[in-house]
């Protein structure tokens, strides 16, 4: 297994990284919510996404695609809607402002918890839950995905949609999700990974590492691994029914949404109001696009089940 780790590692950097991530989202969450609504993740689109001459995608299309992403992930993992078998207790790891958490609560009538490093986002999530009349079913805490404040085996569904990128220790992150999953529970992880290595490769090529390092600096993404790495963590944790897919093509149209929104007056003003960190992140989207186009970065789904 080859992992690309950032230069810094243990020690005081953990608090620095957590603080950096929390502050970054504290600062930018307003802008992101204004631009994209409550789902802080990509949309899922059919491929090929548009026939020549087709109308460009609207904000409505992108929002629909974001909701579709949730449904596609649940379907991929085979989560049941049967009243007996559906999840009753759900954990959203890296829950943003609770978009997915609320969606899952509504979908399954389940009790849901979201954890997040950003106090501003947690507060916002609680407000949204209150506004949607779901405050009794859904709660949010400031907590660390790498050290989750739950006893073992709590949740029927453990969900992480585009938060895995921020985890400095992918194996610990994955093993915590497995720990808090109940027997028979489903784990769903949708995240950016670097490409799988071929059997004769020990690491990515130097030019690929260089690009990833640039991206990591800009976006507070402290480490990368491949989808194959996640699958092998799952295997070593004796998890079952391990499935994975490359959805890079299915999220490609979201880039244009990001760029489009950023380029509107509303978008620019939002970004300017948020501060320099947010602006830097926005500018660095082009790096992500580069990584995606060069097939260094992949958008993957990895799901599995905890044995009964």
């Amino acid at each position: 297994m080859a992992k690309l780790q950032r230069g810094e590692g243990e020690g005081g950097d953990l608090e620095k990284l957590r603080k950096g991530i929390a502050e970054s989202y504290d600062e930018s969450t307003g802008a992101w919510e204004e631009l994209f609504g409550e789902y802080i993740h990509r949309g899922f689109y059919d491929t090929p996404s548009a026939a020549p001459g087709a109308a460009p995608l609207t904000a409505q299309d992108h929002r629909r695609a974001q909701l579709r992403m949730i449904d596609e992930a649940l379907a991929f993992a085979g989560v049941s809607e049967d009243p007996e078998k559906k999840p009753k207790k759900i954990l959203d790891v890296g829950c943003g402002i609770g978009g997915d958490t609320l969606c899952l609560a509504k979908k399954y009538g389940a009790q849901c918890i979201g954890i997040n490093l950003s106090p501003v986002q947690v507060k916002r999530a609680q407000e949204l839950a209150q506004a949607e009349g779901l405050a009794d079913k859904v709660s949010f805490e400031v907590a660390d995905a790498l050290n989750q404040p739950f006893p073992d085996g709590q949740f029927d569904l453990v969900w992480s949609l585009e938060s895995g990128e921020h985890m400095p220790d992918k194996e610990k992150f994955f093993s915590e999700m497995a720990r808090v999953a109940a027997p028979g529970a489903t784990i769903i992880l949708v995240t950016w990974c670097h490409r799988d290595l071929s059997p004769d490769e020990e690491s990515l090529r130097p030019d690929e590492m260089k690009l990833l390092n640039k991206i990591s600096d800009a976006h507070l993404l402290p480490a990368w691994c491949s989808a194959a790495d996640y699958a092998s963590f799952a295997k070593s944790l004796k998890l079952e029914d391990i499935r994975r897919a490359d959805w890079s093509e299915n999220v490609a149209p979201f880039w244009s949404a990001a760029v489009q929104s950023g380029m509107t007056w509303r978008g620019i003003i939002s970004l300017l109001k948020s501060g320099w960190k947010t602006i830097k992140t926005a500018l660095a989207v082009s790096l992500l696009i580069e990584g995606y186009n060069k097939k260094v970065i992949k958008y993957n789904i990895i799901t599995c089940r905890k044995p009964k």
Partner: protein, 123 residues
Amino acid sequence: MRLLTHNMLSSNIRGVVNGFPLGIEAEKVVEREVELSAEFLRGVFPKIEWGALVAGARALGHPDLLPGEADASMLASDDFLRRFHRALLQLHVEEGALVCPETGRRFPINKGIPNMLLHEDEV
């Protein structure tokens, strides 16, 4: 933070063997009415650690709200459902702390949000 949430949280400090349930220091408690759903209560009852809920209600200033022990047959009683509902969902700790039962370490609750982040030396 409601007691429903408290019932799911534990201390995960390195070396702690049993971090559940967390103690509660309640500095500001508010009660907010929310509609009672018997179906929800019956569904969630089997997953509730009753002892922790009773201790929580006591810590929040309601020592007599719940019976010391409970079993599923009590869910047929409207009175029991109302008490269960009130303890689980209506009482909120706005300010205070959760306390690790083994180390005494406090996890602050501000504006109703518990902060469960560990320090470097606790992981």
